[in-house]
């Protein structure tokens, strides 16, 4: 059933699913980062913050960390960088003065509006190499694995 004999004694990394999964994720990520890095000058944490903040109306650093599963210091630094470039702004929350509401500035919204269609198109292109049936099967497997590992949202 697997692509590799299960009883094999040695381990062939090339057929080992965790390794292949990592390689695939890196490959897809690199493919995608061409857009947000080279064309918009964002690194991975910044891109994730943009994506998270852009799809909400105001959210906290903590929410971004939980949603992207990035370490809170990584989020903090990405936010600082984006704020320095005038893409996002922070406002002290009235109800809880510890937290700060993060949202896109006008320039940030402009970038987001330009960036998101390109990124979604890249995803569509990538998935277009799968048949309809393969895509269905792949997503189903991914979903099961996610819930199996407790990764769902």
């Amino acid at each position: 059933m697997s692509t590799r004999a299960p009883s094999e004694l040695g381990l062939e990394l090339a057929g080992f699913v965790p390794y292949r999964l990592n390689r695939l994720a890196v490959g897809v990520s690199n493919h995608l980062s061409d857009i947000y890095r080279e064309r918009f000058g964002l690194d991975i944490p910044e891109w994730r913050v943009m994506a998270t903040v852009g799809s909400r109306h105001g959210c906290t650093a903590q929410h971004i960390a939980a949603s992207t599963r990035m370490h809170k210091t990584r989020v903090s630094r990405a936010i600082a960088g984006l704020e320095g470039r005038g893409l996002i702004e922070r406002a002290s929350s009235a109800t809880d003065r510890r937290e700060r509401q993060v949202r896109l500035t006008k320039a940030g919204r402009r970038m987001y509006a330009e960036l998101v269609p390109l990124v979604l198109e890249r995803e569509r292109e990538l998935l277009a190499c799968l048949t309809r049936e393969q895509l269905r099967g792949f997503l189903a497997g991914m979903e099961t694995l996610e819930s199996c590992l407790g990764l769902q949202d």
Copy 2:
């Protein structure tokens, strides 16, 4: 066909395949590293070097780098660490004095023999949460994506 409406304007990171793929790969990797990190004191680059060297009889640092897709400096440092712990040894090649043949020591082979079955069992456990049909579909999709991105071996 997708889990998300393709025409959606905003981008929901939680349903974005590149992001999900990355999260899944990290989750699987963490699940696996419990074994080689906590029980054998290996980090990721070291584990990959062990896995690669163990399944061959003598190989070069360059071969390891190509096979694992790690940067050659990362490989170099992992090899240095493993050599310092007596798990691998290097011998100057007779035919090309630039390269050095890397192989497991006796202690390295012992660790490898103990490690590999545990790791393969982890993989088996993970994939066991998929039905036979799901596994088939997932692997097929993964394979197509790999070849689509030029990642095959």
